[in-house]
Symmetry: C2
Subunit: 143 residues, 2 copies
């Protein structure tokens, strides 16, 4: 028989998913409405903007995204003229992805929006809570 002391709200994958969804809604609305971007597109843009030009493969590894997802996000960002590709001379399979000037502007705007949005979310937490939360999330992600 089940003992009934274990609640859904205490099940980590469930609680994390609920919190992740709730916390994403506001920011998602911003980049969707303002730039017509999807979540993966935003992530790819952010990686390039924050960490500089790199290949699709590198983005896959950094962001733990599947290559088909990245491939499609790159296409979409290219169409929006936020991103440019350049084939590498020394290995023509690989292409270096980088943001266009326009892409950098979008990144800068989203960067500020993300920072402000994060601050708003964190306002409900004490500094200690915020720090421990971060640490826990890192640990769980690494597992």
């Amino acid at each position: 028989m089940t003992d009934n002391d274990f609640d859904l709200g205490r099940f980590l994958p469930y609680a994390l998913n609920q919190a992740a969804e709730a916390s994403s809604i506001g920011f998602q609305k911003y980049y969707r409405q303002r730039y017509g971007m999807l979540r993966t597109e935003w992530r790819v843009l952010f990686h390039l903007g924050r960490y500089g030009a790199m290949t699709a493969k590198a983005i896959c590894a950094r962001a733990s995204l599947h290559k088909t997802k990245v491939s499609r996000a790159v296409q979409a960002l290219e169409q929006k003229r936020y991103l440019a590709r350049s084939v590498q001379e020394e290995d023509r399979r690989r292409e270096t992805l980088s943001l266009t000037r326009q892409g950098q502007e979008v990144y800068a705007d989203l960067y500020e929006a993300a920072k402000a949005y994060d601050a708003k979310l964190s306002a409900h937490l004490t500094p200690q809570e915020r720090e421990i939360l971060n640490r826990c999330l890192q640990k769980i992600t690494k597992v």
Copy 2:
């Protein structure tokens, strides 16, 4: 210009999503392979198993799921013979959903699996971290 002190790993929606995904994989594998269930199906099953018979609407509210998602999960669970519907006499629009004996067995198994899985995840955290993590997730979900 952006100041570059704000990292993706510190952006709450991103960090939460990464942790949520990483933490879900193992358990997802279990209910997928063993029972061919989808995430929403598992959630609906869990709600009925843990909190007793209720309407689809009630599940929507409790789990913050859209009614079409619940509708489809209920159909799937019904086909698997894990769940039965019964139209309410006093209002024939509503139907009470409840688990069949087989559904209860599946629930009991998943309940134990979830509990064990959660314990494994939590093993990397101190009791204090675990407590604060829970509190933070609740706060964020409520916003």
